[in-house]
């Protein structure tokens, strides 16, 4: 089995590579947009608290809870099949997956950003204001760069979860690496080999990220 197994992996390499690429590109795009959205969410939520804007806080909170409570799978269905039926807007499956993962990821990253901003000493924001910085300047120059230290490690954990969750995209027709694995398994019944491969694949993808998060965490906690 060992040699035939290796042979199977070798023969299937192009297929697996294509699936891996699909997983990578969905994850990368989702991570990118989730980060942007997360920062926006975190800053808005922070401001909503400071300015006592209850409606803004409530809106953001509802968005958060919706993505916390309702599984990604349901959102995928809702947006992919629901939008064309109810709104007549059709989003290609790849981008629909990116959209859902980004929205979900943004809610997770956003909470992290909010927490990071909140944990900064209040004096920092006041010191920034006291030299006349505008709100955007305050966040860009003073608060976000500092919060980054606290934000980065847990955010990277969200990234690894986005990568692992990207496999749900198969439901709307995206053939990512797990699906490719299943296609091979259904043809060859070599489930151990393929799942072993997938296990290693995801580990190799996610471990460097979480190792990086740990290094950053350690480096920054000493600085």
């Amino acid at each position: 089995m060992a040699s035939s197994g290796l042979e199977l992996l070798w023969v299937s390499a192009p297929q697996l590579a294509k699936g891996a690429w699909e997983t990578l590109s969905i994850s990368a795009a989702s991570i990118f947009f989730a980060s942007l959205g997360g920062v926006l969410y975190g800053v808005l939520r922070n401001l909503a608290g400071l300015w006592s804007k209850r409606w803004l806080d409530l809106t953001l909170r509802i968005y958060l809870e919706a993505f916390r409570a309702i599984p990604v799978l349901v959102w995928l269905y809702l947006l992919f099949f629901g939008l064309p039926i109810f709104l007549g807007v059709s989003v290609p499956s790849f981008w629909c997956a990116v959209l859902v993962l980004s929205l979900w990821g943004a809610s997770e990253v956003g909470e992290v950003v909010r927490g990071g901003l909140q944990s900064l000493p209040r004096g920092q924001r006041e010191a920034g204001l006291a030299i006349g910085l505008s709100t955007p300047q305050l966040y860009a120059e003073v608060l976000l760069p500092q919060a980054l230290k606290r934000i980065m490690p847990p955010t990277i954990n969200v990234y690894t979860r986005i990568i692992k969750t990207s496999s749900l995209a198969v439901l709307i027709g995206v053939v990512e690496v797990i699906k490719v694995g299943q296609q091979i398994i259904e043809r060859t019944y070599e489930s151990l080999l393929i799942y072993g491969f997938l296990f290693v694949f995801f580990f190799l993808l996610c471990y460097p990220l979480s190792a990086a998060s740990r290094v950053l965490e350690r480096r920054w906690s000493h600085a």
Binding site: V74, K164, L192
Partner: protein
């Protein structure tokens, strides 16, 4: 497209049962994960190099691989070496494997957040290492990491959907069965979404409340 309320009604008993299974798997897995995490946190706090490395390897492997695949190994691969565990048990074990790792991380961060000076003042009144752990470090670490712990509980409870893959009849399993049988896709997804909101929203609100309380001084009235 019309929404078939009668059909939804007819499936409710099955879904009720599924909620029970979800809660059961989730609750047991959370409990065992917490146990594993506590042991790991204690091991890490004891600073025995070999044990520390072992705990770290476990955490990294569990955190960086998909639960689905961990589950498949336990359910489908272990029988080939003579270990056959039921779907339910496999689900609990796999979720404990993953959850233990996540919660270990949370507790580790909590332990590290306990100020060094607190430990020293415990030492200064003559507490032993073990007493220090029980009376000073873990209670504070636990409280400090309460929001993170809670967030992870919710995360774990949501991950129970994955165990539908080994025929544990929880919410997603039931949803998928009905969709496959009757093609009432939207009705079933709506039911699933509603159940999730009912299950997770209160937990999530509780989490927000806990977080706010911890900000205004952790302890006491």
């Amino acid at each position: 497209m019309s929404f078939d309320w009668n059909f939804v009604l007819s499936t409710l008993p099955a879904f009720l049962k599924a909620v029970g299974v979800t809660l059961q798997v989730g609750a047991i897995a959370i409990g065992t994960s917490l146990l594993v995490a506590l042991c790991n946190a204690a091991l890490l706090a004891c600073r025995v190099p070999l044990l520390q490395v072992l705990v770290k390897v476990y955490v990294e492997v569990a955190r960086n691989t998909p639960l689905l695949i961990q589950l498949f190994f336990i359910y489908f691969a272990l029988p080939s070496v003579g270990i056959r565990i039921s779907g339910f048990a496999s689900a609990v074990i796999a979720m404990t494997f993953l959850g233990g790792a996540y919660l270990t991380e949370v507790l580790r961060a909590g332990v590290e957040a306990v100020p060094r000076a607190q430990i020293e003042s415990g030492l200064a009144i003559g507490l032993s290492r073990w007493q220090l752990l029980c009376h000073v470090i873990l209670p504070q670490a636990g409280l400090l990491s309460l929001p993170a712990l809670f967030a992870n509980f919710i995360f774990l409870l949501k991950e129970t959907t994955v165990v539908s893959a080994v025929a544990v009849p929880e919410i997603l399993y039931t949803t998928k069965s009905y969709i496959a049988l009757y093609y009432k896709t939207y009705e079933m997804l709506a039911v699933m979404a509603a159940l999730c909101v009912l299950l997770f929203l209160p937990l999530s609100l509780l989490l927000g409340y806990l977080e706010r309380r911890l900000q205004h001084g952790q302890f006491g009235s």
